[in-house]
């Protein structure tokens, strides 16, 4: 639901990436992809530039194929809302190694900052609980960031963490958008180190 969005998304993602270990990270199109790249490129990052609504499901397929590896999905509120039903699909499969972080700026930042549905009435953590995700919560304060990072990187999945973030302009940071390159480097990194 609507709040003052306080957290600095770049700082939050950077702190998360410092604690990812050898987790595989899937990023939702738009700012989450740029945030994760800005925190430092890795062959274990799979950047989405499209497929809106599919980030969490891609994470589920990966998590079931790689049960011994942590899988982290970092996505936006608009991207998650488009695939909101997938939280039910994910809950039923119970992937204990899947952590989902939603960077909720309550708008469609990429397309001109139009107000999103989480800025009106909807709460993604509440919808996740309704979908059967056992642990889901929302943070708004710096003091809650450490707990959120622990939950996303180590908490028993499936877990959905929502961080209310600032809508400010961050420096441009664009990873490659060559899908074939992203596919091969990621798959090789995941399979060769598993």
């Amino acid at each position: 639901m609507t709040t003052d969005c306080m957290l600095d998304r770049r700082r939050l993602v950077k702190a998360l990436m410092r604690q990812r270990g050898d987790a595989a990270v899937v990023t939702g199109l738009g700012a989450p992809t740029y945030d994760c790249f800005a925190a430092g490129d890795s062959n274990l990052n799979f950047y989405l530039w499209g497929g809106m609504g599919g980030a969490a499901m891609l994470g589920l397929g990966l998590a079931l194929a790689q049960p011994d590896r942590r899988v982290i999905v970092v996505t936006g509120d608009g991207e998650m809302m488009m695939g909101i039903g997938s939280l039910g699909t994910i809950a039923a499969q119970m992937p204990t190694n899947l952590g989902i972080l939603v960077l909720d700026n309550e708008m469609f930042g990429e397309t001109g900052q139009q107000v999103g549905l989480t800025g009106v009435q909807s709460g993604i953590a509440e919808m996740a609980l309704g979908a059967g995700i056992s642990r889901a919560f929302t943070i708004r304060e710096e003091s809650e960031v450490a707990e959120l990072i622990m939950a996303v990187t180590e908490g028993k999945g499936p877990i959905v963490c929502v961080a209310k973030v600032q809508s400010g302009k961050d420096p441009v940071a664009l990873p490659s958008c060559d899908g074939v390159l992203l596919h091969h480097r990621f798959r090789k990194a995941v399979i060769s180190s598993s």
């Binding site: 589920l60 397929g61 695939g83 899908g179 798959r187």
Partner: protein
């Protein structure tokens, strides 16, 4: 549905193909024509069935499984192809393999007009998105066509769909006595 087709259980031919290809994951929004196949998959201890809320989830799932070193196939009704369109960009642009099996409704013998527009659109929609399609002529041909499609998909990193025509799937029959 002709009697030769109805007596032949084509679903029986598909499980060996899944095993030969090492496909461990089945994703689906069910269709009546897939009921026997889905039941066999549910009963197989080496196959994990993921029920979806909408078919495009199965495309993203298959890509994630592939990136993790595994294979997933999407089973759906013809209507579901419409739900997949934009997500098909994902395997296409990344050249990741993606395999689908579609039970056609809205063709010969259909009584429900709501099935017809999407059914009519399926071949064109798939062609427009660069998906290779296979149309087995008989129930006996399904296993072999599905194996061909799987071979193409996993060897070449393409997306393919096997369409099972309604004359093979059969028509849905309502018992109007019961409904009254």
């Amino acid at each position: 549905m002709d009697s030769a087709n109805s007596s032949f259980d084509w679903a029986e031919d598909l499980l060996p193909v899944l095993r030969t290809e090492g496909i461990r994951h089945v994703t689906t929004v069910p269709d009546g024509g897939l009921a026997s196949l889905l039941k066999k998959c549910e009963e197989a201890s080496d196959i994990n069935v993921t029920t979806l809320t909408s078919e495009e989830e199965g495309i993203a799932f298959a890509c994630g499984a592939w990136l993790g070193g595994e294979k997933a196939v999407l089973f759906m009704q013809s209507s579901g192809v419409g739900n997949c369109i934009n997500m098909l960009a994902l395997p296409s642009v990344c050249r990741m393999p993606c395999l689908m099996l579609v039970a056609m409704r809205g063709e010969e013998g259909e009584f429900n007009p709501w099935q017809v527009p999407m059914a009519r659109g399926v071949p064109d929609v798939l062609a427009a998105m660069g998906v290779t399609t296979y149309r087995p002529a008989t129930a006996m041909e399904i296993g072999q066509k599905f194996a061909s499609a799987a071979g193409l998909v996993y060897e070449t990193g393409t997306t393919a769909a096997v369409l099972i025509s309604q004359h093979i799937v059969g028509v849905k029959v309502f018992d109007e006595e019961k409904m009254r």
